[in-house]
Symmetry: C2
Subunit: 228 residues, 2 copies
């Protein structure tokens, strides 16, 4: 499948390299290709410069947001939640029309220090806002409740644990569930929460997720819904 | 232990009857004793009138918030999150000073319809607000992430699943963990998130919890943190 991953950070890299390894035709999109390639220092999260990463991942081509949007049959928003709408605008509403648009972003806002707050919360969510801004795209919110390594390799955490899916379009959710199964997610661990409004729940889970990180000392964990 | 449970709804009833059954000296507090006893119809959640409930639970005495606050060595806030500060004010700051104050409430706001939003969120939490309003109380946020039946009887959900604890006072948290163990919570399933600010995470989990209720069709579920 032709897949465009928007965002060259840790999440975009994990998703694009895993999808390419699974045999998909994957490009990774950025705002300014030359600027992304000219970065010489690790980012503030300690990730290596993109050009260095790409030397080991030549199966993932770097394109502008617009060229990436044109390439993808499925488009993945892996940009920071605060810039996602601008990135998708740059990818092009025409390019997104009719396509499955997977949103894995969170609107973490570090401007007031740590722990971060959310810039969209409670009466709205990023997933809903993206769906409203791009009504012809078929938005599916998923994978935003865990670290990037677990997203693409759930066996990193032993046993059963869950991933959530939310969106309006049933066919789009089936496409996404298929990709999740390719990553290694078991059917029983893919929890379909219903419409895109349920993105509020998965986005608002982030503060608990961050508290757990502080307690556990690593982000290698996930939650499982245990039924009575 | 002398325990005052504030709030005569489903959560207050479950906690007070369970604590009384464990041998504690339990009172349940309400704003207006006569008004609470005069209710003749089930509440909007379908719970029987309080007087009818109390006929089967005579080991739990009904008192005003102030008298309940004076009685309890431990005070439990099981009132609706929107009225909790007023209820605690009525219980009396002097009565709460130095005591363990267990907050199990959520600020669900149904005024804009369903699903509800939260009236305190993101940059604050009810747990923090209670601690600020009653600085001499030793506030511990816990149990607000599940239904009342599971709170007091975790074996209702099979296997391992978790309860969260947040608060500034280590001794108060130990007292609360002891009560949780009496309810049946295993040590390994009591996750101490740190200070009261972590109440944000457990309160903001509610929208996900509500979405899961819609999917599962019952509120008999809980989450487990699975570590890598």
């Amino acid at each position: 499948m032709k897949i465009a991953v928007l965002g060259t950070g840790m999440v975009g890299r994990a998703l694009s390299s895993r999808l390419a390894g699974l045999g998909h035709d994957v490009v990774i999109g950025t705002r300014d290709v030359a600027a992304t390639l000219s970065i010489a220092e690790p980012d503030r999260m300690g990730n290596m410069p993109f050009a260095q990463w790409q030397a080991d991942h030549q199966d993932v081509r770097l394109l502008s947001f617009a060229d990436a949007g044109a390439h993808g049959e499925v488009v993945v928003n892996a940009t920071g939640g605060g810039v996602s709408l601008a990135a998708l605008e740059a990818a092009g509403a025409d390019n997104l029309a009719g396509k499955v648009l997977i949103d894995v972003a969170n609107t973490l806002d570090f401007s007031q220090g740590r722990p971060p707050t959310l810039s969209i919360v409670n009466t709205d969510s990023l997933g809903e806002r993206i769906q409203r801004a791009f009504p012809d795209a078929r938005v599916v919110k998923t994978l935003n409740t865990m670290n990037a390594s677990i997203m693409v390799n759930p066996s990193r955490v032993p046993g059963d644990h869950d991933v959530f899916v939310a969106g309006e379009d049933a066919d789009a959710k089936e496409t996404v569930k298929g990709l999740l199964r390719e990553f290694g997610w078991k059917d029983d661990n893919i929890v379909d929460l219903g419409g895109i409004r349920s993105a509020r729940g998965t986005e608002m889970y982030l503060p608990l997720w961050l508290s757990l990180w502080g307690v556990i000392g690593t982000s290698d964990y996930n939650i499982k819904v245990v039924r009575g």
